[in-house]
């Protein structure tokens, strides 16, 4: 039997988690390519979290720049790393990765807040800083603005996705999934006229609609990160 290099695990139907079994960049890209061919429909443009738990200290050897490149090249959207060996964190941040909180069932590791290291991601030149859409964002559509804000002048549908490096404004009902600050910008915010979203996330901290207090559903709200917590306030 061939040695397993990576595992793909769906979590909460949106954020696909890529569990690395090896720190070898070459094996990772080959394995990833195969997975993507098998499931191109499902994986195309899906945001992905990379879990380094199994790597332990070999995580130090990971080429984070290359990893990001490979993941993006295959049409995936790199959201962030989690369970990374502490010593490797600075290197990962330098490569532009966001560090995500470990998932709940694990003991909270001592992850330094992203603020200390890399508050605002460096923007490559001549990138789109603002994307304005005057039509509804429909189910199955994904809007991706990796280094800027997204403004939707209409509603977004259930089953749609907004992914912004910066903030997101929706002047209508927000019914789909929305991820702001996908490069790790913890200052990114989400504004909408009617909160009916399936999932909200800022810099990798996410919440599902079920977890949102029911009195905020359907309200005009602003969502921002307060320390590690997503705060939703009416506006």
């Amino acid at each position: 039997m061939k040695e397993q290099i990576i595992d793909l695990k769906g979590e909460m139907s949106l954020l696909t988690v890529l569990v690395l079994h090896s720190g070898n960049m070459h094996s990772i890209s080959t394995a990833l390519e195969t997975k993507c061919q098998q499931a191109s429909q499902f994986l195309e443009r899906s945001p992905i979290i990379i879990d380094c738990q199994l790597l332990g200290e070999t995580g130090l050897e990971l080429d984070f720049v290359e990893l990001k490149l490979q993941v993006s090249k295959l049409g995936l959207v790199p959201v962030g790393l989690r369970n990374l060996w502490e010593e490797a964190e600075a290197k990962a941040l330098a490569a532009g990765w966001a560090l995500l909180r470990p998932s709940k069932q694990q003991p909270t590791a001592n992850i330094p807040p992203v603020t200390e290291v890399n508050l605002t991601p460096e923007y490559p030149e001549a990138v789109q800083r603002l994307l304005v859409l005057d039509r509804p964002v429909r189910s199955g559509q994904q809007v991706y603005c990796p280094y800027g804000d997204i403004v939707v002048l209409q509603h977004t549908s259930a089953g749609s996705e907004l992914l912004a490096g910066g903030s997101v404004h929706v002047y209508g009902a927000l019914r789909g999934r929305v991820l702001a600050g996908i490069q790790g910008d913890i200052q990114a915010r989400i504004f909408c006229e009617r909160l009916e979203a399936e999932l909200i996330a800022i810099a990798g901290r996410y919440r599902l609609l079920d977890e949102i207090e029911s009195n905020l559903k359907g309200q005009s709200v602003m969502i921002y990160l307060d320390q590690e917590k997503l705060k939703i306030v009416p506006i």
Binding site: R138, S139, G140, Q141, S157, A158, G159
Partner: protein, 269 residues
């Protein structure tokens, strides 16, 4: 120039073919030279509903692959001189449907002076559906009052905005929402989505609401498009829809639960 209209839905069995047949017939009866094309390769259906299944010699795929020309393949409707049907192939592979081929057929029809070309899309979002919508100027989005159908229509609206020639040119397709199989009684009892809810979710201009009616099945079994059944509520609603499409202002009907009068209640009807 012909105006190309796709009748599409995403979800299957919601009434696209019923609508295409009624729509094309209605346009033809109002004096427009109309062709209706069945894009459902392998599941020929439109010819049955139009009642011309026994006159099919050549089909859409034959024309695309050059085995017949468009004039040979078009079937003239027996009720209207303005109406022509281009049936789908029963036997051929879906891959025979190509973008160039579809474009050529549409161009032939345009050159032939057709006012309207109605494209009856298959269900799903695969090749047949993608090609049926690709060249469209207008889209009739057929939706049933249930969540899965509405969701699929939303999906289709997204594709109309991105995977069509108009979209690629930065233009917009005209979108029209047609709600079919609407049953006010089941809406009232909470079994079905209300028209207002559907509009709220989809945010597309409404062009008609066709009530659920047994006459639809009767009509397709006898090969007569239901729009010709002037007695039936569905037939009347389809006629209203065609008139709205042509620019008339026509109020919506059949949205409320019908109150049976004492006479009707006592003696049926």
């Amino acid at each position: 120039m012909s105006r190309i209209v796709v009748v599409t839905s995403g979800k299957g069995g919601v009434g696209k073919t019923t609508t295409s047949a009624a729509f094309a017939t209605g346009l033809a009866l109002k004096g427009y030279k109309t062709a209706v094309i069945d894009f459902d390769v392998g599941l020929r259906n439109l010819d049955l509903i139009m009642g011309c299944e026994r006159r099919v010699v050549y089909d859409f795929i034959n024309v695309i692959s050059g085995e017949a020309n468009i004039k040979q393949a078009l079937i003239k409707d027996k009720r209207s001189d303005n109406l022509f049907i281009l049936p789908a192939s029963q036997t051929r592979d879906k891959d025979a449907l190509t973008q160039d081929g579809v474009e050529k057929v549409l161009k032939d029809l345009t050159d032939d002076g057709f006012d309207f070309i109605v494209c009856d899309s298959p269900a799903g979002i695969e090749r047949g559906a993608a090609l049926a919508m690709y060249f469209a100027d207008d889209a009739i989005i057929v939706t049933n009052p249930e969540v899965s159908s509405v969701r699929d229509s939303d999906r289709i609206l997204g594709l109309l905005q991105s995977r069509t020639r108009k979209a690629e040119r930065g233009e917009n397709i005209h979108e029209h929402l047609l709600i079919t199989r609407y049953s006010p009684a089941r809406v009232a009892s909470g079994d079905m989505l209300a028209m207002e809810d559907i509009l709220e979710i989809l945010a597309v201009p409404l062009i008609g609401v066709i009530p659920e009616s047994v006459s639809v099945l009767q009509a397709s079994n006898s090969g007569v498009p239901v729009i010709l059944d002037k007695e039936s509520t569905a037939g009347q609603a389809y006629d209203d829809f065609v008139r709205r499409f042509l620019g008339e202002t026509v109020p919506h009907r059949f949205l409320e639960v019908e109150k049976k009068g004492l006479f009707k209640r006592l003696f049926g009807g």
